[in-house]
Symmetry: C5
Subunit: 84 residues, 5 copies
């Protein structure tokens, strides 16, 4: 998974039918790369998030036949050593 920050929303009226209702977020990864990920846990702009890429992204949706390749799987509370 990758750590990134939600920086924007993407709006697309014309899209593959099975994607109706899905929310698309622009995520800036730690290396500066920008990707677009789906979200169904309520992440919003400014949140630091964990993103799963590839086929694993579909395992976190309610139906696995959606044509997506990235999903926000968690909103990060903190990063730190095990004894903190």
């Amino acid at each position: 998974m990758k750590i990134g920050k939600v920086i924007d929303n993407v709006w697309a009226t014309r899209k593959v039918n099975s994607l109706n209702g899905y929310k698309f977020l622009v995520i800036e990864l730690e290396n500066g790369e920008k990707i677009v990920a789906c979200d169904n846990i309520g992440a919003g702009e400014g949140d630091r998030v964990l993103v799963t890429l590839g086929s694993g992204a579909r395992k976190g949706t309610y139906e696995e036949n959606v044509p997506i390749d990235s999903l926000v799987i968690g909103i990060i509370d903190g990063i730190g050593g095990g004894n903190e």
Copy 2:
């Protein structure tokens, strides 16, 4: 997913049989990289699009056994904050 812009079409007469009828578009991604993606929602040159990479690309086609790895899943209307 990645954001890119449709810049060209690709023509290939000799191809794997299951790809007959598929349209191939050259997409320039935001980082300058060029890829070729299939399209079945009518994207054309100049459109800004969302592209799914990997096995997810096949989930947006009518038959899943086509040997493709990228698909245009949406034509972008806008990118912006949630309260716009």
Copy 3:
């Protein structure tokens, strides 16, 4: 998919059994990167080709249980705008 040019063949006598009979081509992608792809449509040196990467590569073979990750899916005739 990626656009590349066939520049060489690869010979490997000792290989995983299920790959007997498969042809391996060295492909130089547009960004200069070299990969090895299987081919079953007769691409040869100097041809400009479309290559599918990942699990999609196996969808274009006669049996899906071969351990490959890239396949030549088309020989490119031309690249150009929709109104040409």
Copy 4:
């Protein structure tokens, strides 16, 4: 697989339900890139580990429907020639 070093833990209270109970580690790969991987063999900070990326990561969990894309599959004892 990639070789990396465990450098931190990631905490995320709000996450996709199926991930409850999973441990997330920040791994610094040999090329300096940082990723987050799940772990179920007890790797801790400072350990040098082998990480599997992509769909293979889920093959090492107890249930394959978790939305992850990387897993610690081994803690490295040593790297060296065959005749050592």
Copy 5:
């Protein structure tokens, strides 16, 4: 697939159970990147090999539920033009 050279072995006593018996090789790819791949055709240090990445790697093992993402699929005899 990628072309690389076997440069080392990796030893890991503590690992995911299903990997017992698997051999792990450090491979230096042509672009200098180092990865770790499994091998079951007897490749050794100094061999130039073909490596399959991703889900295809598991298609060349005896059981598909191992958490790996790269496999040596051939030992390269030569690279050259079709009429050599």
